[in-house]
């Protein structure tokens, strides 16, 4: 787990990439891999690497090359099946110098070319430089667990794990991409290749981009989520499928526990998914096992009792951190420095503090339950869609919508006013039940209503040049899938890739040099889950049905049977009131709003005043509805992003890293030339 960056010159008019610039680039993301730093440089390319040593501690230094020194790689992540691939490649005649998974990628690419990616079971982002053919290959794992960005201008290509490394070059312009902003205020994320910054592209998850000698490039998608055809009979009865899932998950967890030369711990949320993963992790390896949990001052968000129940069942060394509203507000600018994009909820902030605790406890890698809800139909959005689908068949029914009380028991107890309004909300768009996107319309609609705060310039710019819509690039088979599979697909390509696994995942973990490992995102587990019939996953309205069967008997019944609690943290209320940090007022000031030009100054000032007034009310946290919460967090994080990356930016700590691996073919060449001149 690491940070990577590089510069390629496609023309010959430029001087070789500067070593100082490469150092600044990798220095800006040194937290991704503070153990070792390495650089490779030739006439046309520079690659840099910051290493978090987890596999082959003594031999895995990067950049690394093939036998004849023509291919060079910088790699962030893990290929968990590298031992199997290594054996296969050895039998084909390849020789290996190290025990690392990095070397396996190089030989796999040499042997199988673009077909190598589908063979990898892992989480990766890498840049591979073919110095002979002057070709650059950039690839990311299926879901996009590891980040990768690229920028092209003036005959140069920059790439890096994070945008801030690319911005280390003053030559790269810094501007907000309005399409990325518009997408964020619809889907909660920009949709790769669009990013939040003009001219910067995000490499799409599950794809490989190849730059040729002349600078032209092509993208190839090697994987997208694929679901079974509901018309085909599924082979396995429930009991057999449960056993198969248990085996696959166990294997995925073992790979993630054992393929590390450092101890691996686990997060424990108190819910089903992380409990299953932690239990399996505990089985996979003898010895002490460390678990980590978030607790909240606000009882509404706290799950302590379940976490403690599970940790005592596991007999783990358990660590916890208690999060208050003021903690969230205090670290929020640091959180945005790491997400590099706006977020609509504060939920990443506590995870920023949790990874710090992990690091302080001496652990470099953790398992988490991320991905289970997407793979096995765990979210409320899937259940809502199913009820709305059922309701749409008889829209005048007053009985059908009562099913919402099953998934939201509070509705049954609510005054009629709240219930009536909620039903009115879910009723919208019932007539579109057969169209793609039906499941996600309520979320996209609610989020899009925040665009009323955009400035008129931004609205005009988006109107004239809208970004691609997620529904415009669906796979051809999409409409043949079951409605649950359709909703799962949309959830994976938007929220999972762009928000949960990045803003709330990799970015928060790597901020404190911790690697996340996700058994539910194992490629075999994903394929298996995607092939399951819908009712094995969402049975009537019982979510993650098959996973509960796997869990029964191994984790406490209280956890298997409990009502699912979505992970949330205090949102708008964290930034309101007498204890709010000064930067909140500053970022939402007329001056700062005018400076960014992204929002309607009067609208935001009016909204902020309303929030401040609500904050004086004792029952304040209840007073902020979903839209208020998203609006305040979204606007504040956008303003912070603008200040941190566009108008200001922090000084790069590039001089703090010293290269222990230094392959400099430019100097070698120059020295050689100088010697020749002397002769």
């Amino acid at each position: 787990m690491c940070g990577i960056a590089g510069i390629i010159h496609t023309g010959d008019e430029h001087a070789p990439p500067s070593a100082q610039l490469l150092q600044a680039m990798i220095g800006s993301i040194r937290y991704r891999g503070p153990d070792e730093f390495g650089v490779y440089r030739d006439r046309n390319a520079g690659l840099v690497h910051a290493r978090l040593s987890i596999i082959d501690l003594s031999g895995g230094q990067q950049p690394m090359s093939n036998e004849d020194g023509s291919l060079w790689i910088v790699f962030n992540g893990e290929i968990f099946n590298y031992i199997e691939l290594r054996n296969e490649l050895q039998s084909l005649g390849h020789r290996f110098r190290t025990q690392s998974d990095t070397e396996v990628i190089i030989h796999a690419y040499e042997t199988w070319g673009n077909d190598c990616f589908r063979r990898f079971n892992g989480q990766w982002a890498f840049g591979l430089w073919d110095s002979k053919n002057r070709k650059l290959v950039l690839s990311r794992d299926r879901i996009g667990v590891r980040p990768l960005y690229v920028c092209e201008a003036h005959g140069k290509i920059w790439f890096a794990s994070e945008v801030k490394a690319i911005f280390s070059d003053p030559e790269v312009p810094r501007r907000v991409d309005h399409r990325g902003l518009d997408q964020t205020f619809t889907y909660w994320t920009s949709l790769a290749p669009v990013s939040l910054f003009e001219g910067i592209e995000e490499i799409q998850p599950g794809s490989v981009r190849t730059y040729e000698r002349n600078g032209s490039h092509s993208d190839r998608i090697y994987w997208r989520p694929q679901y079974s055809d509901p018309k085909e009979q599924y082979a396995l009865p429930m009991a057999d499928a449960t056993e198969a899932l248990r085996e696959k998950l166990m294997h995925a967890t073992e790979l993630r526990m054992l393929r590390a030369d450092v101890p691996v711990g686990s997060y424990l949320s108190g819910g089903l998914d992380s409990s299953v993963v932690a239990w399996m992790g505990r089985q996979a390896k003898k010895g002490s096992f460390q678990t980590f949990s978030l607790r909240f001052d606000d009882a509404e968000f706290d799950e302590t009792s379940y976490q403690q129940l599970m940790s005592s069942q596991l007999d783990s060394v358990h660590h916890e951190v208690v999060i208050s509203r003021s903690d969230i507000a205090r670290v929020f600018p640091d959180v945005i420095w790491h997400t590099e994009r706006p977020i609509l909820r504060t939920a990443p902030a506590p995870l920023f503090l949790l990874s710090r605790l992990v690091r302080q406890s001496g652990i470099k890698a953790v398992l988490t339950g991320e991905g289970a809800d997407e793979m096995l139909g765990g979210y409320d959005i899937f259940r809502e869609a199913k009820i709305r689908q059922f309701w749409s068949r008889q829209p005048e029914s007053v009985i059908r919508p009562r099913l919402f009380e099953r998934i939201y028991p509070y509705l049954g107890r609510s005054p009629n006013q709240a219930k009536g309004m909620a039903l009115q909300f879910w009723r919208q768009g019932l007539e579109r039940a057969q169209l793609p996107g039906f499941s996600h319309e309520p979320r996209w609609f609610t989020t899009s209503s925040l665009k009323k705060f955009f400035s008129s310039d931004i609205r005009q710019s988006i109107g004239a040049n809208p970004g691609p819509d997620v529904l415009s690039s669906l796979p051809a088979e999409f409409t043949a899938w079951d409605p649950l599979a359709q909703a799962q697909y949309l959830e994976v390509v938007t929220l999972l890739s762009g928000y949960l696994i990045s803003s709330q995942g990799d970015r928060m973990l790597m901020a404190h040099s911790v690697e996340g490992r996700f058994p539910f995102l194992d490629s075999d587990v994903m394929e298996f889950c995607n092939g399951l019939p819908a009712d094995y996953k969402l049975n009537i309205l019982n979510e993650k049905y098959i996973l509960k069967k796997v869990a029964r008997g191994i984790i406490p019944d209280e956890i298997v049977k409990r009502q699912k609690q979505p992970y949330r943290a205090p949102d708008a209320i964290s930034f309101i009131g007498p204890d709010a940090p000064e930067y909140v007022e500053e970022m939402l000031s007329e001056h700062a709003l005018k400076e960014s030009g992204l929002f309607d100054v009067a609208a935001v000032r009016g909204f902020y005043a309303k929030c401040a007034a609500k904050g004086k009310n004792a029952a304040a946290s209840a007073a902020f509805g979903n839209s208020d919460n998203m609006a305040l967090v979204g606007i504040l994080s956008t303003q912070l992003m603008y200040r941190l990356f566009v108008s200001g930016g922090r000084p790069s700590p590039g001089d703090q890293c010293t290269f222990t691996t230094n392959i400099d073919r430019v100097l070698e060449h120059t020295e050689h030339a100088t010697q020749e001149n002397r002769l």
Binding site: N416, Q417, M421, S449, K452, F453, D600, A602, G606
Partner: protein, 88 residues
């Protein structure tokens, strides 16, 4: 006190403008407040509480359906009925 439909419309419009729109965008009185994304379901409750406080009235549970509050025009007619009914 004789409250006219126009007065109610102006007051409600002003409240919505000040608390949900925050600028001088022209509000179409027929437009669905929920359906246009102007107000979310929590926001509608704010409108309802504003009406109760402003006019010193109380809504019964069975009156609190979206159909009575989902546009300025709907609020106007429902309020006329409510106030008229209360006065007679």
């Amino acid at each position: 006190m004789n409250t006219t439909k126009e007065e109610i419309g102006l007051k409600v419009k002003g409240f919505i403008q000040e608390n949900f729109i925050f600028n001088d965008k022209v509000l179409d009185p027929q437009e669905s407040l929920l359906g246009s994304g102007t107000i979310d379901s929590t926001g509608i409750l704010e409108v309802i509480s504003f009406l109760e406080l402003t006019y010193g009235i109380h809504f019964e549970d069975n009156e609190l359906v979206a159909n009575n509050f989902d546009s300025i025009a709907k609020i106007q007619s429902f309020m006329m009925q409510k106030l008229g009914g209360a006065g007679s």
